[in-house]
């Protein structure tokens, strides 16, 4: 799994941010490429560039090995993302791709998945129920 971060800042800004702040949060700094999108060209392609503010909002896209977008999430600037749900989605899509099984709501790694055959229609309740918390 590869991460690419993107903002409208210059690569020089990314360098200084990594060296002065991120490297104090994460040992050795963040390990992924920090992309510069000055002018918002990439953000516009993905529909996450805010023309008025001149920045990219918090868009996150999960792209599979064939270059297909499998999942996306977009948040406004004041709230940060939660990586636990991202990791769950990555594991679910990887499992689905490897097994062709389908993944029920709330699935966590290790939980059963479903084989999508016509016999299953109307009988999912026999093998799967939602978590009650």
């Amino acid at each position: 799994m590869e991460v690419l971060s993107v903002s409208v800042d210059s690569i020089h800004s990314h360098k200084v941010w990594q060296e002065t702040e991120l490297s104090k949060m994460v040992e050795g700094g963040v390990p992924y490429p920090m992309l510069s999108d000055q002018g918002g060209k990439i953000g516009r392609l993905y529909g996450v560039y805010d023309e008025e503010a001149g920045v990219n909002v918090r868009g996150r896209f999960l792209i599979d090995p064939d270059g297909i977008i499998q999942a996306m999430e977009v948040l406004t600037p004041p709230v940060g993302r939660n990586d636990a749900e991202l990791f769950r989605q990555i594991k679910a899509y990887q499992h689905q791709r490897a097994t062709k099984e389908v993944i029920p709501a709330g699935w966590q790694p290790g939980d059963p998945t479903l084989t999508p055959t016509d016999k299953l229609a109307g009988r999912v309740w026999e093998i799967w129920k939602p978590r009650q918390e």
């Binding site: 690419l4 490429p33 992309l35 529909g47 868009g59 792209i63 977008i69 993302r81």
Partner: protein, 47 residues
């Protein structure tokens, strides 16, 4: 062009800072791998 789930991710080329050096990143070079593409408003902001 609109991005949508189940559709191809638009290709792009960008300048990047990675492992202490400046380089160029092309999305299509990541074919064959899972990629998480994360946009954020700006360096040095709080969240």
């Amino acid at each position: 062009m609109t991005v949508f789930v189940g559709k191809p991710a638009p290709n792009f080329t960008a300048k990047a800072f990675h492992n202490g050096a400046f380089k160029t990143v092309k999305l299509e070079d990541y074919r064959g791998k899972w990629v998480v593409l994360c946009f954020y408003p700006g360096d040095f902001t709080y969240v």
